[in-house]
Subunit: 501 residues, 2 copies
Amino acid sequence: MGEKLEALKSHLERFYDLQQAAAVLAWDQEVNMPDKGVGPRSNQLATLSAMAHELFTSEETAQALEAAEAEVADLDYDSDAASQARVTRRRFDKQTKIPTELVMRESKATSAAFVAWRKARETDDFSLFEPHLQEIVEIQIEKADHLGYTDHPYDALLDQFEPDMTTAKVKALFDDLKAGLVPLVQEILTKPEIDDCFLTEQSYDLQRQWDFTMLLLRDLGYDFSRGRQDKAPHPFTIEFGNADVRVTTRLHEKHPQSAIFGSVHEGGHALYELGSPDRYERTSLAGGATLGLHESQSRLWENQVARSLPFWRYYYPILRAFFPEQLDGVNLPTFYRAINKVEPTLIRVEADEVTYNLHIFVRFELEQALITGDLKVADTPDAWNAKYEAYLGVTPPNDALGCLQDIHWSHGTIGYFPTYTLGNLMSAQIYYQAQQELPDLEQQLSQAEFGPLLDWLRKRIHGYGRKFTAPELMAREFGEPVTAQPLLTYLREKYTALYEL
Amino acid sequence: MGEKLEALKSHLERFYDLQQAAAVLAWDQEVNMPDKGVGPRSNQLATLSAMAHELFTSEETAQALEAAEAEVADLDYDSDAASQARVTRRRFDKQTKIPTELVMRESKATSAAFVAWRKARETDDFSLFEPHLQEIVEIQIEKADHLGYTDHPYDALLDQFEPDMTTAKVKALFDDLKAGLVPLVQEILTKPEIDDCFLTEQSYDLQRQWDFTMLLLRDLGYDFSRGRQDKAPHPFTIEFGNADVRVTTRLHEKHPQSAIFGSVHEGGHALYELGSPDRYERTSLAGGATLGLHESQSRLWENQVARSLPFWRYYYPILRAFFPEQLDGVNLPTFYRAINKVEPTLIRVEADEVTYNLHIFVRFELEQALITGDLKVADTPDAWNAKYEAYLGVTPPNDALGCLQDIHWSHGTIGYFPTYTLGNLMSAQIYYQAQQELPDLEQQLSQAEFGPLLDWLRKRIHGYGRKFTAPELMAREFGEPVTAQPLLTYLREKYTALYEL
C-alpha cells in the first residue's frame, strides 16, 4: 500500500471503529436494553453517528482521499488500492451531501421510533408509531433532497443500499418477475393444498428448537468463536468487524420453521461478513458489498440449500430425533412438501419462496408513494391492506400483522425492501452457477458437507468484500447482469415437481 | 444555569456519551462477546477512549471551563452550578496531564489483558497473564508520573478512585483497623467452628438461585425497567446513564451465598447509580461520587442489611420454599450463623465480613510494591501466597485461587482495592447513623420494607451524585471523617453475639 493510501486508511480507522461501536449499541438495544435505557442510548447513538459523520466528511478526509486517488490513479480498477480509494470516494461524495444535524436527527428519531414500533406492534396500535413514522419519512425526504437524484427521489434512498440501481431499473426487473410469478401462484392455487398441520398445530419445545438452530449454524460453518446467536423480536445479523458477527432468531412454539429458516437465513448473512478478508478490516472494503448481494447469500442458504430435498435427507432424521412425538409418522417427502407449502399469507419473513416477492412489491410501491407524498403516513395501514388484498388476496386483520410487522421503517431504512427481491434474483443466478461448477453439490448437501459451497462463495463473492457493486460483481463473476429469469426457472422447476403442475 | 455553564455542559455532553458508549462495549465484552471479538473490540474501545480524552482535554473545554468558573465564582460551594464547574475542573486538571497516546495504549492493553486473564484463570496459568500485567504495571507507573505526587507514586493512582485520600492516610486507617481486627479474628478462631455443610455440601439448582436473586433485587427497589441482571465470571455493576444501570452475578451450585450476596452487593451499587438525579445526567455530577462511597453502598446492603437476622426473618421462609430439600431441618438461627461463619479463606469476594479486609491489606501492599518496583511482576504469585499465609494463615494451592482471582488488574485498575475497605469503614458509619435516624429500621427489614432506608440513603448520599468527595460527604452528612471505630464496633457486637465471645 502506498504512503498516501496508508495515510487515508489510518485517518479513517477511527471512523470504522465509531461505526462498529454504534453497531454494538444497536445490537444491545435490540437484544438486551431495558425499556427506559432508550433515553441515554439515543444520545449515545446520536453522538457516535455525528462524530463518525464529522470525521468522515472532514476536510482532512477530503485531502487524504485526493492524495490517495492521485497515488492509485494508474493502478488496476480491480486492485485493492484503487478499489479502496474508489469505494471511499463514492461514500464520501454521498455523505458530504448530508448535514451532520440531519444525521443526528435521524439517529435520535430512529432510537425513539424503534421503541415506539415495538410497543405499537405489541399492542397493535399504529397510532403509537405514526408520529415517529411521520418524522422518519420527512427525514428521508430531506435526505433524498440532499443526496440528489435525476428521476425519482426514491432513487437517492435506494442508492444508499444498492449502488448502480435505480427505481426504474428495479421496477423493470420486478415487472418481469411479476409476469412470471403471478401465473405460477395461480396455477399452484388450483392444486390441492399441502397439509402442514403437523407443523402448525403442534407445540415444538423452544429449547429444542434453539438447540437445532445452533446445530445448523455450526454445521453451515458459522464460527462461534467469532459470533453468537441470540433471540430478538425481529431477526437480524450485525457485525462489529469480521471477528464478531452476530445473528439473532425468534422462536415460535407452533411454527418451528420460523427459527429454522430464520437462523439459516441470518447464518447466510453472517457467513458473508465472516468471509470478508482480514486485510480489509477498518477500510472501505470490509464487509458485504450491497444489501442485495447480502440478501443473495442469506436467501441462497435459506432457500436453495435449506429448503431443498438433499438438505433434509441429512437433517430430517436429526429433526425427528429432536421432536419424535411431533414428527411421528411424518415421512421425509411429507415434511419436504410441508416446508415448501405455497400459501399467500400476511407475514413477509414467514412467506414461502414463491409468494415472498409479492410482499416486497407491496413495500416497494408504498415506500415510493410515502416519499413522493402521494401516500399520507396516516393512510399507510389502509393502503397496506389494500395492496395485500390485490397482490396476495389476503387482508391483515390488524396492523400488527399488517404494516407494523417489519422493523425497517423504525430504523429509518426506506429504500431497503427492494434489495430483498434483488437478492432473491441474484441468489438464483449464483446458485445456478454453483451447480454448474460444483457437480457434486447435491450429494454434498445431502451429507451436510457445506465446505465446498462455502469455499466457492468465498472465492466468487465474499472474498471481494465491498470492492464491487452488485451489477459489477454479477457481470464479472457470473457473466450477466441481474435478471428475473433464473429465479423464475428455479421456482417453476421446483414447484412443478412439488405440486405436479 | 448560567449561559457559560450551559455552554460547558453542552460542549461536554458528547464526552459523557462517548464514555457511556465505551461502557456498553465493556459490558458486552464481559457478558456476551465471542472470544475472537477482542481484536476489533480493542480498537473500538481505544478509539472511544482517545476521542473522549481528546474532547475532554481540548482547548475548547479549557476555555468553556474557565468561562463557567468565572460565572459561578460567587455561588455557594454546594450549589449545583459551582459543583459542576469544580468537579469538572478536578477531572480536567488530572486528565490533561495524561497524553492521549497513553490513554489509547492503556485501553488496548486492558482489552487484551482481560481475555488473557480469563484464560489464565481458567487454566490456572499465571504465565499467560504475566506479560499483560507487566505492561499494565508499566503503564500505571507512567500514569503516576504524569499525574504527579508528593509522597508516593501510589497516591496518584489512588486519587483517581478516591480523591482527597493518600497512601499514608489509607495506611493509618488500615493500621487502626488491623489493630482491632486481628485480635477479633484470633478470638473467633478459638471458638467452635460453625457448621455450614448444608450450604457447601449440597447442590442448589442454579435456576432457582437465579430466581431468588431476581426476587431480592426487585424487593430492594432495583428497577428492572432501568436495568437488568446477567451472569458474568466476575460480578460487576455498570451504568450507561441513570436509566440503564446493569448488574451481573455468578452462580455456584455448591455455594448459593455467592449469588445471593453477590446480587445484593451489586444491587447496592446499582441503587446508588439509579439514585443519581436526572438533572445531573451528562454532566460531571452524574453517578456515584467515589469508589469508596460506592462500596459503602454495596457493602451496606450486602452486610448490614442482607447478612442481618431481621432480613432473614422475612427471607428465610422464602429461601426454604425455593430449596425445601436442602434446607430441611435447618432453622433460622442455624442458617443465620452459617451465612456469617468466620473463616480465613482464599477468595476475597466470598470472604466473611471479618476477614474480608485482610484480603484488601494483601492487595494494598502488593500494589504499592509493584508500582515502586520493589516487587517484580513475575514474583507476584509467590508474594501473594506469602501475604495470604501471613494475614490469613492460608496458602493458595494454585494461582487461579491466588493472584488470578480478581479481574481488577486486567482492567488496568491499580489503586482501586483499598476503596473496598474504605467502603466497609464508611458503610458502618453510615448504617450507624441510619439506625439512629430510622428507629423502626430493624422492624422494616424484617418485613422487607426497604423503602425507608433507600429513601434515607438517596437523601443523604445518592441525591448528591458526584458533588462531594468521600471526606467532604462524610463530614457534612455524618459529622466525622472516615475512621475505623464504627466498623470495629459493629463487627465486635455482631460477632460477640454470634460466637458468644
